[in-house]
Symmetry: C2
Subunit: 297 residues, 2 copies
Amino acid sequence: MKLAEFDIWMRRAADAVETALQAWVPADAPAGLGLAMRYGVLDGGKRVRPLLVLAAAQAVHGAPSAAMRAACAVELIHAYSLVHDDMPCMDNDVLRRGKPTVHVQFGEAQAMLAGDALQALAFEVLTPDDDPAMPAPLQARLCSLLARSAGHAGMAGGQAIDLASVGRQLDEQALSDMHRRKTGALLRASVLMGAACGTTNPREWQSLAEYGDAIGLAFQVVDDILDVTQASATLGKTAGKDIDNNKPTYVTVLGLDAAHAHAEALRRAAHAALDGSGMADTEQLRELADRVVARES
Amino acid sequence: MKLAEFDIWMRRAADAVETALQAWVPADAPAGLGLAMRYGVLDGGKRVRPLLVLAAAQAVHGAPSAAMRAACAVELIHAYSLVHDDMPCMDNDVLRRGKPTVHVQFGEAQAMLAGDALQALAFEVLTPDDDPAMPAPLQARLCSLLARSAGHAGMAGGQAIDLASVGRQLDEQALSDMHRRKTGALLRASVLMGAACGTTNPREWQSLAEYGDAIGLAFQVVDDILDVTQASATLGKTAGKDIDNNKPTYVTVLGLDAAHAHAEALRRAAHAALDGSGMADTEQLRELADRVVARES
């Protein structure tokens, strides 16, 4: 795939996700709740998770409208986690995607409720009454994958480890365990939810699971690198905060050069997983792996 | 049904819910998260919502093991909402079910994560891989009902109205709109999730929906009455806090006598809904309606 072609696919896909989220995140939820929810999720972010869902669905020829629901559901979970993570009792961050964070804009109580409602909305989007592309077994499968990646064994569990690790030394294995849960689980689920829209073939499923594991960890390694090498303005969020917060990262544990090498090894592992899959249309997934590692914000 | 017989049913059902929650809420979630989750949900509460699920499932002869999953999922959502609601940025309450609240015991960050993980766990419990009593269409239906009752159009939306109503006068209609969302939606969903375990008959469904509406509102009217007539020790939570927080309640809007009369009218409406249903086994539902209105804590 030529780079320009991929860029066009990526822009179109991200625009379609934005349009779908615009429609599904309610402006008219009571007492300003809808405004806080929309502020937390619309018009921002790289949409990496939705792009992974859509690319994986494309690789297995899944129904596009089912994939779009899965893509938005994952992004809603991601968005809620950022809203809660930024709150004073967690990371106490005031800047996200170049804008004041939700609790700064709407107050802490509304931010907590908006996060809670975004999580529920993810499961609403996955369980439509009237979408022929979403038969009940697919709805149930997607809810199962999403709930498990978001909950105690996935993202929320990883955040609990993260909280407990402030100011502590972790070895590489403990760090990777934390990140496989905290960010990896939802990125992996993105790939698998896309896969669920089109395949039950165990070989394809296994390949996509391996791809998802590699990309999930690569994303975090690169995040840790960018936290020390980029300015806040480039990131759209507060740079250097892991070090300021005395949190262990891949850079503090491995050093900067080894962290770069680790990200590159994971990129290759993601490609290798697809090589063995027997699937033809994996160009978007390959290119996404390259972009996740090469990104500068 | 004789009273003693109902008391035995209720105790057995509540014990079975406790046993199921003990098994499903993980003790081993990382970094203390499991302990905070368990503290927030186990060994406390009247289990009104699970009892409504189980009683409704019994009325439509639903599979008991499916009903138990639905019952626990609803209670997990209820428990997460209490954990978040008690936090300093919301009601700032230190006492719940006679114990220190979760954030007092485990810190605010862990309390927020525990609430988040309890919400995800509700959807995990509804989407098992290996339970023959839970075919995919039932899983999808239950996820749909639960997500919609918990989210922006239901509980979270009602809480946003509640936040915005502090210190304001509401008329009875605005108050009832708030409570239909804040507490009514999840109580109604409890009844409907029980119904989904056994029936697709429109007449039965409609009757149970009407019963659920009535009981949902009755519960809140009685809550408002108890807030002014009972001591904290009896309630197991801080009494008088609605008035202290300058929140509109059925007692402030209607007066105490009219609030009592309103609760009684709703109890009768719940019974009347069942009278027209054609269902035989509605004794537990009837008795639960009576208990919700007659309770003293």
